[in-house]
């Protein structure tokens, strides 16, 4: 019997400080045993438990794309015991990864459709995974127009800034980067909250269009009326939830919303599904 609690050992290969407040770092991890990488077969939208011996585990969305081989990438906000310890770790340190866990964005359903990605703050990690996945030459033809609305408080709080700039230059993805405010005279993108920019830039909803929305509760709250106005059906609005988790496999009992476990039946739900679940998240 395989032990689903046993993490794969990994080594930290690279650490990138993402934001100007230094609270978000990206960790590039490499499997110690190459065979483990083959077993870690994931889709964009899934998460994993990062495990640090002596400290514990944290559930974190996978920021790398399944099309990127040889490593996994996680962007971690410093909030508690494990994340604070992780932020102090060095390149070369050994830790563990357990997963992949949870479901993923419905790539089979979205094939042949327009995809609108709406993200805010540091909830952009599995969205980065999704963009890299869709832009991969073997996948790009499977999707129609791709729009990305991504906002942060300031330019320095945006994740993956180099990649954002590269995507801006491409003609097969429509980028709508925005910040709440900035006094940077060189800022050449949008200024305004994500819901406002969504209203201005996102294509109208129809059966051919899916929106993936990830962000802080306040952004989600004000984006939903905009999507309603743009005529997005609730089963075409896809969301990813966060919960406190321990086991990540539906056993330990804490991350449920009604009868669904966010770790195993989620974290990805359509708004239509959430409408039929208790409002307890």
């Amino acid at each position: 019997m395989q032990n689903p609690y046993l993490p794969y050992p990994v080594r930290i290969e690279e650490i990138i400080t993402e934001t100007e407040d230094k609270n978000l770092k990206t960790f590039k991890l490499v499997f110690l045993n190459p065979d483990d990488e083959k077993k870690f077969n994931y889709s964009a939208g899934q998460f994993a438990e990062l495990s640090i011996a002596g400290k514990g585990e944290i559930p974190i969305g996978i920021a790398s794309s399944p099309t990127e081989k040889g490593f996994l990438m996680f962007t971690v906000n410093k909030v508690g015991l494990v994340t604070s310890h992780l932020h102090n770790m060095k390149v070369g340190d050994v830790m563990g990864v357990r997963g992949p866990l949870g479901n993923w964005y419905p790539w089979d359903i979205m094939e042949g459709k327009h995809v609108v990605i709406i993200g805010g703050g540091f909830a952009f990690t599995t969205l980065r995974s999704s963009i890299i996945y869709m832009l991969d030459p073997t996948n790009r033809a499977k999707f129609k127009d791709i729009h990305v609305v991504y906002g942060a408080r300031t330019p320095g709080m945006l994740l993956y800034r180099d990649e954002l700039a590269e995507w801006e230059k491409r003609d097969d993805i429509h980028m709508h980067i925005t910040v709440d405010a900035t006094d940077d005279p060189d800022w050449k993108y949008n200024i305004g909250f994500v819901p406002t920019i969504t209203d201005q830039k996102a294509p109208p909803g129809n059966v051919e269009t899916y929106a993936i929305v990830c962000g802080p509760p306040i952004m989600i709250k004000f984006t939903q009326p905009v999507l309603d106005k743009l005529d997005y059906a609730h089963d075409h609005i896809i969301m990813s939830l966060e919960m406190r988790m321990k086991c990540g496999i539906g056993f330990c009992g804490r991350c449920n919303i009604g009868k669904e476990f966010v770790c195993k039946d989620g974290p990805v739900f359509t708004l239509d599904q959430l409408n039929h679940m208790p409002k307890e998240y």
Binding site: L6, P9, G80, G250, C252, G253, G258, E280
Partner: protein, 348 residues
């Protein structure tokens, strides 16, 4: 089905013989109350009881359990890599488990043994156990097993059912596991199964008639989840609750757990401990947000899980066997039978 007659004079000797191949667990009196524990050499299960105060779930699923070990000594080659811990999964027999508590393991199994994932600790430990049930001739006043999918002579989940008849026990062998235990004990006096079935049935009827408490669960499945969730009675139900967690601690069907790392010097373990939905930290996010911040939300979660979410998820009844422990031990008299009634009859 074979029925073995065990003369009470052969009881001690048989248990001693079986202890050569089985670790024996049974009820024992600790201070004023009975608990389930591993029986020492020569120690007999104390069957002079209605039921133990804590359920026997810890025999299969310990309150604290080591999962992995590791070293954080960077001079060691395998530092910070988790290693599995060898477990004792040798055969064990739980003597004198009540039918409700045995059935509870089947309810919990649905959580730990799924098509996608299997919990190796729980499953191996459960598979190692032979459950020797002890039919209830004297149920408690709070028992409501007969309307909770169980009963005082219920056999589901048991390997053997012992029926106490004067100076002997009748042992109904339910599974091959049960047969192996009887063989190891050397109890082989076969009773005429047909002749034994009448007195057993009579005793069963008498026991069932003593159970006067009940729940009605017939409408739970068809209720709308969010309607029940938003029902007006939760504030009232939770009003007196002090979130002590006793109900979840004594329950044979509760399974929630926490995972924690502990280090001592340079070596450490990852362990799991029983947890409870009654505690605010259970769902407390790193961000400070807590989806079940108030005690009413937590009390609602406990009842909704047992009486609605579980019913919907598995379509196999409620997550309760009617043992009545949470009713007997709740310091503020919250009663699952009453709450079940409120939920079952709730109309907007």
């Amino acid at each position: 089905m074979k029925v073995i007659k065990i003369d009470k004079n052969d009881w001690t000797e048989g248990l001693e013989r079986s202890s050569k191949t089985f670790r024996l667990f049974g009820p024992a009196k600790q201070d004023e109350f009975h608990i389930f524990k591993e029986l020492g050499k020569g120690e007999l299960p104390d069957l002079n009881l209605q039921n133990t105060r804590l359920s026997p779930r810890s025999v299969v699923y310990p309150q604290s359990e080591k999962m992995f070990k590791f070293t954080i000594d960077e001079n060691q080659e395998d530092h910070h890599i988790l290693k599995e811990i060898q477990k004792d999964d040798s055969p064990r027999a739980i003597i004198g488990i009540r039918p409700c508590d045995a059935k509870a393991f089947l309810l919990v199994k649905r959580n730990f043994d799924t098509p996608e994932y299997q919990d190796p600790y729980w499953i191996k430990s459960y598979q190692a156990a032979t459950l020797v049930g002890y039919a209830c001739n004297f149920p408690c006043s709070t028992c409501f097993c007969t309307t909770a999918g169980c009963g005082p002579f219920h056999e589901e989940g048991l390997d053997i059912l012992l029926v106490d008849v004067d100076n002997y026990y009748l042992a109904k062998t339910i599974t091959e596991k049960g047969e192996r235990l009887l063989a190891a004990a050397g109890w082989d006096t076969e009773a005429d199964a047909d002749a034994a079935s009448d007195p057993i049935k009579t005793m069963q009827r008498a026991a069932e008639e003593k159970i006067i408490a009940w729940v009605t669960t017939d409408k739970l499945k068809d209720k709308d989840t969010t309607t029940l969730f938003d029902a007006s009675f939760w504030e009232d139900v939770a009003f007196a609750c002090i979130n002590c967690g006793t109900c979840t601690y004594v329950c044979p069907t509760c399974w929630c757990f926490d995972i924690q790392d502990e280090t001592h010097g340079l070596s450490g373990i990852r362990m799991r401990n029983w947890d409870s939905c009654m505690y605010p930290l259970f769902t407390f996010h790193g961000s400070g947000h807590n989806p079940r911040d108030t005690k009413t939300q937590r009390v609602r979660q406990r009842f909704m899980h047992k009486l609605k979410y579980y019913v919907d998820k598995y379509d196999n009844g409620i997550q309760c066997v009617g043992c009545g422990r949470c009713i007997r031990l709740c310091p503020v008299n919250i009663d699952i039978r009453k709450v079940c009634g409120l939920m079952n009859s709730f109309e907007l």
